[in-house]
């Protein structure tokens, strides 16, 4: 279970991907993933917003995560 990190999320974690497969308790949902991030890297709690994309789509908090999903952390976007 690999998570892609972009923008400031990369700076907060200190790398561009995060491997969750070695965790004892893996997050089962988007909500659990966000809780894990906030607990493990307090920098996330200071952001204006935090979203998660699963398979290239913004994901609702209740979405269940599967091992083969492409997961990405989406800090506040600022294109344009």
């Amino acid at each position: 279970m690999e998570v892609f990190l972009f923008g400031i999320a990369k700076d907060i974690v200190g790398k561009s991907t995060l491997d969750l497969s070695t965790l004892e308790v893996k997050p089962n949902s988007v909500k659990e993933l966000i809780l894990f991030l906030n607990d493990s890297y307090p920098g996330f709690t200071k952001l204006t917003s935090l979203a998660v994309a699963v398979n290239g789509e913004y994901a609702p908090q209740e979405l269940h995560l599967n091992a083969k999903d492409e997961i990405a952390i989406i800090p506040p976007v600022s294109g344009g």
Partner: protein
């Protein structure tokens, strides 16, 4: 609507966008170009750096065009965003649309750039002389 041009590129060629939007059914073309400004909050900007989650960004850009096409009768659309380091005066995004009448092209163009800034997973880092800031990251 003809198939839109949706791209994430290393550098934007603004000169070609009219040719891409030119259309016999259109009386109006509206183009917005976002460029790097030399000052932000009274600080000198050296450059901007853009990073994209490319596959998802392209999907979100396509959604924006679909939403605009549902609101206004569009003939041709170009939506192109740059990634990488961009210096002052360089183009970072270009959104253009051709429509039969000018109302629709202005409104659709405005809607598309506003929505792009809200939803497309692209991130901008401002490079000042002594620091860098991820735009909008913090309240």
């Amino acid at each position: 609507m003809k198939k839109p041009i949706i791209e994430i590129v290393d550098a934007i060629d603004t000169a070609k966008v009219y040719e891409e939007l030119s259309d016999a059914k259109s009386g109006g073309i509206c183009v917005f170009v976002g460029t790097v400004r030399d000052f932000t909050n009274n600080e000198t900007v050296v450059s901007l750096e853009f990073e994209a989650y490319k596959t998802m960004a392209l999907k979100e850009m396509a959604k924006i065009i679909d939403q605009a096409a549902a609101k206004w009768p569009l003939n041709k659309v170009v939506m192109r965003h740059a990634v990488g380091v961009k210096k002052v005066q360089e183009a970072v995004v270009v959104i253009g649309v051709s429509t039969a009448h000018r109302d629709a092209c202005f409104e659709a163009c405005r809607f598309m750039i506003d929505t792009l800034k809200d939803t497309v997973p692209i991130w901008k880092k401002e490079m000042f002389k002594n620091k860098t800031v991820w735009v909008s990251a913090h309240p």
